[in-house]
């Protein structure tokens, strides 16, 4: 009775559904994590606690190989996409809106609107032709493709940061005879930095999670962790996949917590 607003905003059954949703959202993930510590190979019958699947996964040469490839691609794609997204954000925010800017926004957000399978197929066609023409089969194609679809994820937090920035700071630096580069280096960049790091993290996670585009763009023997896992899930179910999933999950949560702390509004 104390708080009337609380009772007004209460709708019958809503809280029950919400609590159910949170439980159902986490239950499957929790089961997946629990069974990565299973003594046996079953994903349903508990055969005692064991850590065996983690060293097993680590000693599997193929797993190490695909993990390294995933990390290489994700690091390169995150760095490239964040750099170009930072430049684009500097070029599109904090000025009068023009027609051209709508085009830039549309292009940057385009990877979010087109179904991934369509982009994947389109890249397969184009890159297949380039592979034949140049003979180059390396990781460059995957890094380029990943950089492209990571751009919107890197751009959003940077733009949010820039829009909240006090423009007079740059004017002041200019008045004090700072060159444009000095202004950028010592005024703008330190302010944008949290946004850029947040963008870097989101881009890294996005690249690390990708399945479909990687599946179509990769050359033979260029499996990444997700495409390797997809093949494993199809073939046979082993708790080794649970162990790998758990590690990926932990990495995602760590990066997200970092992102969360960086972008949190200071109160």
């Amino acid at each position: 009775m104390a708080d009337t607003r609380f009772s007004v905003s209460r709708l019958p059954g809503f809280s029950t559904i919400a609590v159910g949703v949170f439980i159902i959202l986490y239950l499957p993930i929790l089961m997946l994590v629990i069974y990565s510590f299973n003594g046996g190979n079953s994903i349903a019958v508990w055969e005692g606690f064991s850590l065996q699947w983690y060293p097993k996964a680590w000693n599997n040469e193929q797993v190490r190989d695909v993990t390294m490839r995933s990390l290489t691609i994700a690091s390169a794609a995150a760095l490239i996409s964040t750099t170009v997204a930072l430049m684009a954000a500097l070029g599109t925010t904090r000025r009068k809106q023009t027609k051209g800017q709508t085009f830039v926004y549309l292009m940057i957000n385009q990877p979010l609107m087109v179904p991934e399978i369509v982009t994947a197929v389109a890249l397969l066609i184009v890159f297949a032709a380039i592979k034949v023409a140049t003979g180059y089969q390396g990781l460059g194609y995957l890094i380029l493709a990943h950089s492209a679809f990571c751009i919107p994820f890197a751009y959003l937090p940077i733009r949010a940061r820039l829009e909240g920035m006090d423009l007079t700071l740059e004017t002041a630096a200019g008045d004090l005879y700072a060159t444009p580069w000095q202004t950028f280096r010592h005024v703008t960049l330190p302010i944008v930095m949290p946004g850029a790091i947040a963008g870097l993290m989101l881009a890294f996670v996005t690249s690390l999670d990708d399945v479909i585009i990687t599946l179509f763009v990769k050359s033979a023997g260029q499996d990444t962790l997700p495409t390797y896992m997809l093949a494993q899930i199809r073939r046979s179910v082993s708790a080794e996949v649970n162990a790998i999933s758990t590690l990926l999950l932990v990495l995602t949560v760590i990066l997200l917590t970092g992102f969360f702390l960086l972008t949190r509004k200071r109160t």
Binding site: L32, A44, I108, V121, D209
Partner: protein, 303 residues
């Protein structure tokens, strides 16, 4: 003279803006937008015998989207297999969107009506699955519902059932998986809309003897409509083009458009048909986006 200098300065900022955006635009045109134009061209070519294409113009791929040619008398008839795949995709995407709304709306409402501290924590809890690898989450569902999975093992142990429930590799399994995987995409925009909702409107409605149902229908839903539309679009588009979830939970026979497209580039060896199907999917998504833009413009005009 001052205005001339101002004009020049303005032109310079515009030019610098373009130059700064250029690297991002180049990457996006080379590795995202440009290739989309090329699939349009490929949809009008002739399939090569070992995949890829022969550069000869042909309508066959576009005819093949809906019709199949009888091998014996060469007549065209509607391809039932293709139609059933389209129907399944649209049906599952719509069902997923509706069910995500039905459970997502109460969840978003629940989060928005908590204390600020609890709200931040709950939002974070919704965001984690959103950023967690889709493959891992689909795999987690697979482990729960498969015949020898956790659900069946538990139910058998408890004596509720005598034989395992066969859920996996069905349309229902795909629907279940997609709802699970895409739910955060519905909850987040709904939350953003409800968060701006003025709770005093509820007090006013109840003072005027509105029932809870009337308040929900006549006050809450119209006001948070932009969030409902945004959430529905965000769920519908990836659900329609889903590839991973139907592949892991639907098995080989319960294909959706995404898997059907992949098939044309793999065993099917019919790249033009795959390209035509991709363009079809793109057009459907474009239509959904147009509806979204129009609907959100109408709601902002009314509001």
């Amino acid at each position: 003279m001052a205005s001339l200098a101002e004009q020049r300065a303005e032109r310079r900022t515009i030019r610098n803006g373009w130059l700064l955006s250029l690297p991002a635009l180049i990457i996006l045109i080379v590795a995202a937008a440009g290739p989309l134009l090329i699939i349009v061209i490929y949809s009008f070519l002739t399939p090569g015998s070992y995949g890829n294409v022969v550069w000869e113009f042909s309508w066959d791929a576009w005819v093949g989207v809906l019709y199949s040619r009888d091998i014996f008398d060469g007549t065209y008839k509607l391809a039932d297999a293709h139609l059933s795949i389209f129907w399944r995709s649209v049906k599952l995407a719509l069902l997923t969107t509706m069910f995500c709304f039905v459970v997502g709306f109460p969840t978003a409402w629940f989060i928005a009506t908590r204390t600020p501290r609890a709200r931040t924590a709950l939002l974070f809890l919704i965001t984690i699955p959103f950023w967690t690898n889709l493959l891992i989450r689909t795999f987690a569902i697979n482990q729960i519902i498969r015949n020898e999975g956790v659900l069946n093992t538990a139910l058998l142990y408890l004596g509720v059932i005598d034989e395992p429930l066969v859920i996996i590799y069905s349309d229902f399994a795909v629907f279940l998986g997609m709802t699970y995987v895409y739910l955060p995409l519905m909850v987040l925009p709904l939350f953003a809309a409800i968060d701006r909702f003025d709770m005093r409107l509820l007090e006013a409605s109840y003072d005027l003897y509105a029932t809870r149902w009337q308040v929900l229908r006549r006050i809450i839903v119209p006001i948070v409509k932009p969030g409902i539309i945004a959430g529905s679009i965000l769920v519908f588009i990836p659900a329609l083009g889903a590839y991973v979830t139907p592949r892991i939970l639907g098995g080989g026979r319960n294909m959706m458009i995404g898997n059907f497209i992949e098939l044309q580039f793999g065993q099917g060896r019919n790249w033009p048909l795959g390209a035509a199907l991709s363009v079809t999917l793109l057009v459907i998504v474009g239509a959904a986006l147009m509806l979204y833009v129009r609907a959100s413009m109408r709601t902002t005009n009314n509001g």
